[in-house]
Symmetry: C2
Subunit: 430 residues, 2 copies
Amino acid sequence: MFDPLKIGIAGLGTVGVGVIRLLAEHGELLATRCGRRIDVVAVSARDRDRDRGVELGAFKWYDDARDLARDGNVDVVVELIGGSDGIALDLSLAAISAGKHVVTANKAMIAHHGTNLAVAAEEAGVNVVFEAAVAGGIPIVKAMREGLAGNCFNRVYGILNGTCNYILSAMRESEREFDDVLDEAQKLGYAEADPSFDVDGIDAAHKLAILASLAFGAPLDFAAIHTEGIRHISPVDIDYAGELGYHIKLLGIAALTDRGLEQRVHPCMVSTDVPIAHVEGVFNAVVAEGDFVGTTMFSGRGAGEGPTASAVVADLIDIARGARAPVLGVPAGDLTAIPAASMSDHQGAYYVRLLVVDRPGVMADVTAALRDAEVSVEALIQRGRSPDDEVPVVLTMHETREAAMLQALKQINALDAVLDTPRMIRIEQL
Amino acid sequence: MFDPLKIGIAGLGTVGVGVIRLLAEHGELLATRCGRRIDVVAVSARDRDRDRGVELGAFKWYDDARDLARDGNVDVVVELIGGSDGIALDLSLAAISAGKHVVTANKAMIAHHGTNLAVAAEEAGVNVVFEAAVAGGIPIVKAMREGLAGNCFNRVYGILNGTCNYILSAMRESEREFDDVLDEAQKLGYAEADPSFDVDGIDAAHKLAILASLAFGAPLDFAAIHTEGIRHISPVDIDYAGELGYHIKLLGIAALTDRGLEQRVHPCMVSTDVPIAHVEGVFNAVVAEGDFVGTTMFSGRGAGEGPTASAVVADLIDIARGARAPVLGVPAGDLTAIPAASMSDHQGAYYVRLLVVDRPGVMADVTAALRDAEVSVEALIQRGRSPDDEVPVVLTMHETREAAMLQALKQINALDAVLDTPRMIRIEQL
């Protein structure tokens, strides 16, 4: 048996504790699977005295995580601090410079600095791996980089944020408002006190940037992602979606189009005929469409101590076994930028909900606005009648250009009889 | 860039041609991803003159596949001949002895000889890899061996045969008989002329044996698998299943129980609340339940030229990159046999359909037989009435021991008023 792989863990929150627990519980098994032990030798966190429920006495303690990079006894730095910059990035770069492998769960850091980290890692001859950064315990980074690496991809998409998926599932099941369900999610620990990273789609966008780079061999381009969250989704829309045969999901979608690389995160109406529509609650799912393999889907828990620890340890197992693949699937020097497709050129179908005064001529005005923008209506539903009172009207559009849809909505919003800002949700063909 | 990885392909059926096509179409991309080219240098098949739609002129031709093992120019032998023994096994063992890696899609060979092949490969210091042997293009072998390797597993199961899943999906959608749909599947190329390997569950059992070995670190034990096929499933049962909230799926299930390792392939009633119930047509899906990661599901096309070629090439990419993991997840010497749980000790819920004469006292006799065997009835449904004529009766049982259920069925079958052999389908708690 080879020498143990010696690791230093920076950050002892839920995930760090999970990693320590997993390595302790499955130490013998992992030694058998890897041909060598994986031993924690050093740790760092802000508060040394906090009781975390795991034994830390045997590990060297550092108050400053960056000192892990300088510890000659550490082969691998496991970065679980979080944040795109700051100590996490300093530590990762220092570890690479010191010839240490880096394992991280930090999606923000990879989304913003992944390309530079890949360049640095290649120069130093070490690995930077981040299975835990995308979709929790699901081994999707490995699948993109290795298991499906024989394919060219046209599209990769998924439910990348468990908090949003939990909220949307719960809203549908219990017919409650967003704020009410968010409140519950916070109490259950599925949402942070400040939920904006999750519910505004930023966390999903971080993960999408990583998936897109792996799928298309392009440098990470987080800034190019069109990002919308789920705050404006109402139970009424979820209800109409159900009637039309859809579930509403927050998807991250990256696709090669003839207009360039489209990267977008926003709520989508997804046909209940496709399996991803049935991925509920805190589960994540990623669909990769390869030219030879066809459509593959991977689902599982997207966050939490156990799943994230499972992903971090999978990366450690690879390092212990000496497995090597390029950080982003191809050598950093071979990453090729793909022009970003503008969201205004996006082609898709749309759902629109209006609140209008129920009086003759309103529908003529609305459909005239759509005609002027060259948007073609697929269906128009007005439930019930209440003359001269307000009434909701739902329309679905055939595939059209986003700019045309927005132009039409602007005109519609300006109509006297339209009482509230029109709600638009994209209908996704999957 | 390193020297090309030179491969010899034995067997030029659908999959072999797919591999040649993939390597030709994506040669440059793969060279970038691997840091070296993957080049076909030699091939072997039965008929040299057949037009396969791909250019073979540049490759050395062998009439006898076993000669590939002796070709000093070949680094990797890709075995796509099939069959558990015979030339496939001879070639694989010869290649290993000659210090060549083996990539195979041969589930029968791995199911029967995987442990010996692993021993031989370790001794020779080469790899034997078989991603394509389980669930087509889905990278599930890699997931079990690497991506989820931080976990202990309690259960792994899946839809492992696309032919059966296609037939069951089509029977449900079109309310047709098994024979009728099988006929159609044969015309569409989804079923072989002799369909028994598929519809009798043997192919699924081969794959299950492999998954179980990977999940539980045990030698392959194909002989221990309880195997039933789908020939006896009737549209009536599919209909009742739907009423009760189930779809009928042929599952392969391997689970650690306190009675030992249970390995079984048989039709199951699966609640429509669980995602795998919605995996339809020729798709496969595998669910792995790890102690840290929780429930993960992987789905995709389980067969066909493109998906299988994708899996074969993924194995070649690993070899080209120098990645190494033990053949069966742990070194062969560490594989530990787990006693097989007897099927008669299986604990589960059951669906039973009877055809009985509609007259007073029949239900009393049936329920008495169940009581005598200590089987507890959950529900009993008799649709319609036709006194003194035949009428179907459907029962579901609470969890009980298989031996007790079979004992009760024997007694029920002996009743005068029971007109046909009772039909039993297990209800699976997933």
